[in-house]
Amino acid sequence: MLIKKLTDANGLPGNEGEIRSIIKEELEGHVDSMLTDRMGNLIVTKNAGKPGKHIGLSAHMDEVGMLVKRVEDSGLIRMGLFGLDPRILPSKIVVIGKDKVKGVIGTKPVHMTKADERAKAIELDALYIDIGASSKEEAEKSVSMGDFVYFDSEFTEFGEHKIKAKALDDRAGCGIIIEVLKSDIKTPVTAVFCVQEEVGLRGSMAAANRVSADMFVNLEGTVSADMPPNEDYEKVTVLGDGPALSLIDRSSVYLKEYVNKMTAVAEENAIPYQFRRTGAGGTDAGNYHTAHGGTPVIGVAVPCRYLHSPVSVMDKRDYENAIKLVKAFINKYGEEQ
Amino acid sequence: MAVNTALLKKVCEIIGPSGHEEHIRAAILEDLKGYYDDYKVDALGNLIVHKKGDGPKMMLAGHMDQIGFMVTHIDNEGFLRFSNIGGFDPFLLVSRRVVFANGVQGVIRCERLDDFRKDLSQNKLYIDIGACCGDCAKKLVKIGDIAVYSASCQVDETKVMTPALDDRLGCFIMMEALKQLKAPKFDCYFVFTVQEEVGLRGAKTSVYNVDPEYGIAYDVTLAFDTPKALKFPMKMGGGACIKIKDNSVLCSREVINLMEKAAKDNNIKYQLEILEGGGTDAGAMNISKSGVLSGVISVATRYVHSDAEMCAISDIEDSINLTVKVLEMGA
């Protein structure tokens, strides 16, 4: 399954090569051209030069995670974080670097802690990875500074229609674009698989200057808070209610005219959709809509619970409906004059 | 069958904190006359009532003792200092009325404190019986005398509210079950235990002597259905509670299954109970000798260890019925 392959792979900001290779392999034979720019963004064209509106698609390849910051004399490893909440680290198994060295993140035994200590978060400084090495020298035989560290989290299907995986933000978006590019769309499309979204939307800053399209659709894995005790208005998105369309966030105001085009397509094709009910967060869309004197953008996202954790959860049906929706949108508005 | 609320009221209003169970024991024995094969009172004061049955030995335990106060000092002004018998929250005690075995009434008050919220502890509390001086006080009350909450037992169609529901209610359920019992498939020992509130002591000695294979304790448990309560499952009016765990025991699955089957087969309303703290006589039975397969039937009660312990009449009825059916069903 494509989404399993994409989420099992690892790609920290600035280190997206593994993801890029998978995408290139998947798209081989389905597109006209593939270009990797100096930052590592992968820019793909299909149906270039054919008649129709030129629609841009974008998703980011990078994910939140950790890397090896320092190996201590004791052989214990200190880590640096990208966008992770340190509170999710204790009591986990991690895998380090290309050799996939296993390690554990433990904590002080509960017997040695007081209640007020347990009420506070454990700080990153108090955490480390233990690979069983007894010295720095021994540890450095298999681990180097800068090595990627990821959670030992298997892609799992569970419950009703649910998927648990790491990095659904934004391999879900990558997967949607791949499926769209493999389909029989007829009009010109340029897809951008960005780097470094999680460290400040940086890959798309460069990509937006290179690619000039009539409009951009940005694909994301977005926040869901549809669990108790949250009230309906606090849920942001709800799993299973369909792809979420953005109205506003910290990086973009999505022009109503274009949002309406998307909802019209959804309704014509009986695809469920919902609106993203928060203004928080930011996406690569912000860079596209302010580039080249302005480009309209639409945000389509798959709702995910526990975003930025190794146990993110999405509903397969939302993902599949997002693919359907984007395809139908291109088929309709690509041909618009 | 309707719950005999007159009897319930009677057993709830007899004074008997831990170590002082003689009156309640006499009342229970008197009431059960004619319903048992034999009985004995052991060295600690447990009342062990035997009802013969065809099957393995089963001990039922409900404790007769209640929480209370013991006078430790009488000062020259006539104020009484006291030790607690069982666990109290000092905040709940301030302004509570108490009654001594000889009928003398008093009220618990607190010394003046700079910061009541921070400084309050039990040794800041005293009992005022309205005596004019130490000598007058000593004519009414002596050091070592015991008192309990003085509130009466209030019963209406749906609820009962009284101090000492913990655990006269357990005793009451056992008494009523014994009276209704036809042909038990267990050899039943109904044990009305002493000194539960100070550490399950009566259950520990009585179970050693009875040496049963199965044990069921009867007690109140906490109801979590009041505003902003933690999300534990027990609710007042939710049926008899079949305990899964508390701080003293992980109940035997065999006994839990037995209770559930009896409840389902006979359409008796029940709920499953998980309690974080707390303990019951089952904790003592479980680890006696080679181990006793133990369970608990409890009643979800609001405001436990206050003078307004409250539970639903319907839950009492369900608990009695469940007990009878379990004993008649057998292992």
Partner: protein, 350 residues
């Protein structure tokens, strides 16, 4: 079975206090290969006997129960509220994958979620999330979930043991199944050895909630010497030197009021005779182990306590050294050997 393979098989099994049957089954079968009798008592303890010449009874106790979680109830939309059996640090539970052992017989997968950084309020990051605010996401609708899961169902962290460098292994429930495996190692070593004492290997239940299993099994066996084996705190950066012992330096022989001094001395002598590495530690109060209840069973038992150093106790990444584990097994064998030809009455005289 290879001892490392055995410890992996029992640690991956589930056996929360009071619900040890899955682990107990594996343990019973494994010991049957090396012992004369294996039985399970009323509270679920597995008791394996390797007969000697009947001159004395020595019992080793290692608990097979693990800490775990229990379903409190179902919330809207397929979420599960839970509570604990035994003591977790709530901070080790976020984003764990779990298995709910449903009353339906079905094992239901779930994850314990966390509010994503995007939605957190200022100050949230400094506080830990309370267990009472955590939820397990099962991915099921409430209606479907009701058929699978209910109040009282046991929950375990989904974890398979892994191997680290230097013969270290990490997993859940190494507290105290690592010591069950040490007893297994001893049983293997004693297979063809003639010893005076009858040796009882007891995998106890409910240690994490008050050593209920050890209370009952000690009463039943009534041993002359009862030795508890439990994991101890191995050195990690957050512990003070006085709180821990060394990792990979052998088992720890404990001294203190909860331990019969002659029993501890004999362990020390036995270790020296056989050249087994060991460490010493003193416990000033009641140990939080089965030794606490073994000592005061019946009319008093000569009690001993060995500790196997373990890192990150009560997390799902508890870590021990297989070298320490095997040395502990060898020490138990050496102890049994050491008792040969000894008059216990005299040896244990205080």
């Amino acid at each position: 079975m290879d001892t490392k393979k055995f410890v992996m098989s029992i640690c991956d099994a589930s056996g929360v206090s009071g619900y040890e049957s899955e682990a107990a089954g594996i343990i019973k079968d494994a010991f049957a290969e090396y012992c004369d009798e294996v039985s399970i008592d009323r509270l679920g303890n597995v008791v394996a006997v390797k007969k000697g010449k009947g001159k004395a009874k020595v019992a080793f106790f290692s608990h097979m129960d693990e800490i775990g979680l229990v379903v409190l109830g179902l919330d809207k939309n397929g979420f599960v509220r839970f509570h604990q059996i035994g003591g977790y640090d709530q901070r080790t539970l976020l984003c764990q994958e779990v298995v709910i052992h449903g009353y339906s017989g079905e094992k239901v997968f779930g994850v314990i979620g966390i509010k994503p950084p995007h939605l957190q309020e200022p100050g949230d990051a400094e506080k830990s999330v309370k267990m009472s605010d955590m939820l397990i996401d099962t991915g099921y609708s409430e209606e479907k979930l009701k058929e699978l899961v209910r109040t009282g169902d046991i929950i375990t962290i989904k974890r398979k043991m892994i191997e680290l460098k230097n013969e270290a292994v990490s997993g859940k429930a190494l507290d105290d199944r690592a010591c069950v495996a040490a007893m297994y190692e001893c049983a293997k070593l004693l297979k063809d050895y003639n010893h005076d004492a009858d040796v009882y290997f007891v995998a106890t239940t409910q240690e994490e909630v008050g050593s209920m299993g050890a209370i009952v099994s000690t009463y039943n066996i009534e041993p002359d010497i009862g030795v508890a084996l439990d994991v101890g705190f191995a050195k990690t950066p957050e512990l003070k030197p006085s709180q821990c012992t060394e990792f990979n330096k052998g088992p720890v022989i404990e001294y203190g009021p909860n331990i019969h001094p002659k029993v501890a001395d004999m362990f020390k002598e036995a270790a020296k005779e056989e050249g087994i590495p060991f460490q010493l530690e003193v416990y000033t109060g009641n140990t939080g182990t089965d030794a606490r209840v073994v000592q005061v069973s019946r009319s008093g038992i000569a009690s001993g306590l060995l500790a196997l150093p373990l890192k990150y106790m009560h997390t799902s990444v508890e870590t021990i050294s297989v070298k320490d584990l095997k040395a502990t097994g060898r020490l138990l064998q050496a102890f049994v050997k050491h008792l040969n030809g000894k008059d216990l009455e005299e040896t244990l005289c205080l």
